[in-house]
């Protein structure tokens, strides 16, 4: 029984982080029709910034360090607000191959930027994770920090849902994603919406990185690994769909967790095969439109 509880919680833990990354990716695609290959490295950057901030100010009492957690998210969001007008805006009217290439170039640049700023060794602000201790759930000892991550994931999902479906800005966002020209004709400042959407997407990616680093540390290459997984989530859930990102994240989190425990050799392959199967049966994903 304990193992089952641990498996479920671990699945949700992975799913939380994956959801944050995938949500940003799908939001950016849904609104701007850009597949952001650099999204994984934005997640990594968020992780690095948070890890660095926590380690730098490590003498503070741990309760204060929690305030620093969103530092990574905010930094990446700020970067996104700069990147969108400079790198992506010139490419909207060009064929989408060029958008993929620019974001791929950005991926390479960010990878070495992190290497340059923080060196080749991982950063581990583990003190934050240890500080919260652990609780006993159904007989198994489970770290409280992981529960916090799960909570953050759920809260983020709820907040994003409310934001997109219940606020005026959310309406504008959805309108722009459905029909850019019409929204523009109705007076929406599409350029501004694009920057805002990209910034929100980057914030989510950075937040994903920020909350995972106390557990797994900030490592070079984590962005590239995460990106492909985020792609699988978004493919399963549907490009452009937020519910799809949530469901996809849960599915991928579950398959990964169960896979690592029960069939470790083909666990990765199973994931990509599921993505392939979904693409074949329903290319728009479980919740995607057309």
């Amino acid at each position: 029984m304990e193992t089952l509880a641990v498996q479920v919680l671990n699945s949700l833990f992975y799913a939380s982080v994956l959801f944050l990354i995938a949500c940003g990716l799908t939001l950016i695609y849904g609104v701007m029709r850009i597949v952001n290959l650099a999204h994984g490295n934005l997640y990594a950057l968020g992780g690095y910034v948070t890890a660095w901030a926590v380690l730098r100010l490590g003498t503070l009492p741990p309760a204060w360090l929690f305030v620093l957690l969103p530092a990574g998210a905010i930094a990446v969001a700020a970067l996104g607000a700069i990147l969108e007008p400079s790198l992506l805006r010139p490419l909207y009217r060009r064929p989408e191959e060029y958008q993929l290439l620019v974001t791929f170039g950005l991926l390479l640049i960010l990878e070495d930027l992190m290497h340059f700023l923080w060196g080749p060794h991982p950063l581990s602000p583990g003190a934050l994770a240890d500080f919260l201790g652990s609780t006993s759930i159904l007989g198994a000892t489970y770290p409280n920090y992981n529960l916090l991550v799960i909570a953050v994931g759920f809260v983020a999902a709820a907040l994003i849902w409310a934001f997109v479906y219940k606020t005026k800005f959310g309406v504008i966002l959805r309108a722009t994603s459905q029909d850019r020209r019409m929204a523009s004709a109705l007076g929406v400042n599409v350029k501004r919406v694009y920057v805002q959407a990209f910034t929100i997407g980057c914030f989510l990616a950075g937040l994903g990185g920020a909350i995972i680093v106390p557990i797994s540390g900030a490592v070079l290459g984590m962005g590239v690994d995460a990106l492909v997984l985020a792609f699988v989530v978004v493919v399963i859930g549907g490009l452009g769909s937020l519910e799809g990102a949530l469901v996809g994240a849960i599915i991928v989190g579950a398959v990964r967790t169960l896979g690592i425990t029960f069939f470790p050799e083909i666990e990765l392959a199973v994931l990509y095969l599921i993505a392939t199967a979904v693409l074949l049966a329903r290319p728009a994903g479980l919740f995607g439109r057309a």
């Binding site: 290959l37 191959e97 791929f104 170039g105 640049i109 083909i266 990509y272 693409l279 290319p283």
Partner: protein, 332 residues
């Protein structure tokens, strides 16, 4: 000024020969002019050029951006490694045949799955499938050697007719270089025939206007699949040639950033031209080696080059040169 002055000059055999024969002659005599290291470096460039030629059949001529071409490169490479590991084969010809058969099988299977979709779904699907292969190569370490990879020793060329005497460097910079060069010329020739054939024209029609092509009678899906198959085979040949040169094959060449590099070098040369991928592959190879040799942050350099390239020179090297040449001709 009459109307014909506004059109680019026709691609006559004479004009093509004028630009390619000096290049071909240079390639033939280069091992005698430069140190062995440079020759070996150029060999890598030629191998990537073959891969890029294949890739561009899909991108430039059929309009499909595959982000999973590393899969066929890797299949070709691992086919060679398996031939060595399980069958103790050492003949380069057998390596090539093995690489072609394996990559053809992979491309045929993946192509069946992928060509039903276009644009971003096609790209993501090719990416996902290449990642399936990568994860298998990574995890089944008792077969594939995992991250250690599989070693491939020096093969025999032409069943021993070409002397392999001397050390490995001499072998790689002379006999093996010419072997690669011959295969390269063959591949260029075959690809030239393909893209100028009715099949090639049909592919371009599909690229330009899929619906119209279908209404004219072109079986879009079947032509795409054949293009996918041919493209995969070319890249598999490149992979098979690459392993003896590299001595080792690891899952890294199936990992998706390598697919990104293939896209990068094709666009660098110019994916709307025939020679673009070749030029792009060779230039990219030198660029990458130079960057790696200069700084630890070589990915930054490559990324910056890519961004600048897309912003300012989207037609690539050959494309931009072609445009400049045309403009200067028009001015006359």
């Amino acid at each position: 000024m009459n109307a014909t002055a506004a059109l680019p000059k026709a691609l006559t055999l004479r004009r093509v020969g004028a630009s390619t024969i000096p290049a071909a002659l240079l390639l033939i005599v280069i091992p005698f002019l430069v140190p062995p290291y440079q020759t070996i470096l150029l060999s890598y460039g030629l191998i990537f050029a073959i891969a890029a030629l294949g890739f561009n059949l899909l991108l430039g001529y059929t309009g499909l951006l595959s982000f999973g071409h590393s899969a066929y490169f890797g299949v070709g490479a691992y086919a060679v490694a398996f031939l060595v590991k399980y069958f103790r084969v050492a003949s380069m010809e057998a390596f090539l045949v093995g690489g072609i058969v394996a990559s053809a099988a992979a491309a045929a299977l993946f192509g069946l799955i992928c060509v039903r979709y276009t644009r971003i779904f096609f790209s993501i699907l090719t990416l996902a499938l290449s990642q399936v292969l990568w994860s298998l190569a990574l995890k089944f370490y008792w077969v594939t050697g995992g991250t250690d990879g599989l070693r491939v020793p020096t093969p025999t060329l032409l069943a021993g007719l070409a002397q392999a005497g001397g050390d490995k460097v001499t072998f790689l910079s002379r006999p093996y270089y010419y072997y690669i060069l011959v295969v390269f010329f063959l591949c260029v020739g075959v690809m030239w025939v393909i893209v100028n054939s009715p099949f090639g024209k049909a592919l371009q029609a599909i690229r330009d206007n899929e619906t119209r092509a279908e209404f004219v009678g072109v079986q879009v899906r079947r032509y795409r699949w054949v293009a996918f198959l041919v493209s995969g085979i070319f890249t598999g040949v490149a992979g098979a040639l690459w392993v003896p040169l590299n001595g080792l094959t690891t899952p890294d060449i199936i990992y998706w950033p390598f697919s990104g590099e293939i896209v990068f070098l094709t666009v660098l040369g110019g994916f709307r031209t025939f020679a673009g991928p070749i030029v792009g592959a060779v230039v990219f190879n030198y660029l990458k080696q130079y960057a790696i040799g200069t700084t630890t942050y070589w990915q930054f350099i490559l990324g910056a080059v890519l961004v600048v390239l897309v912003m300012t020179m989207p037609a690539g090297i050959v494309g931009t040169l072609g445009r400049l040449g045309w403009r200067s001709q028009r001015a006359n």
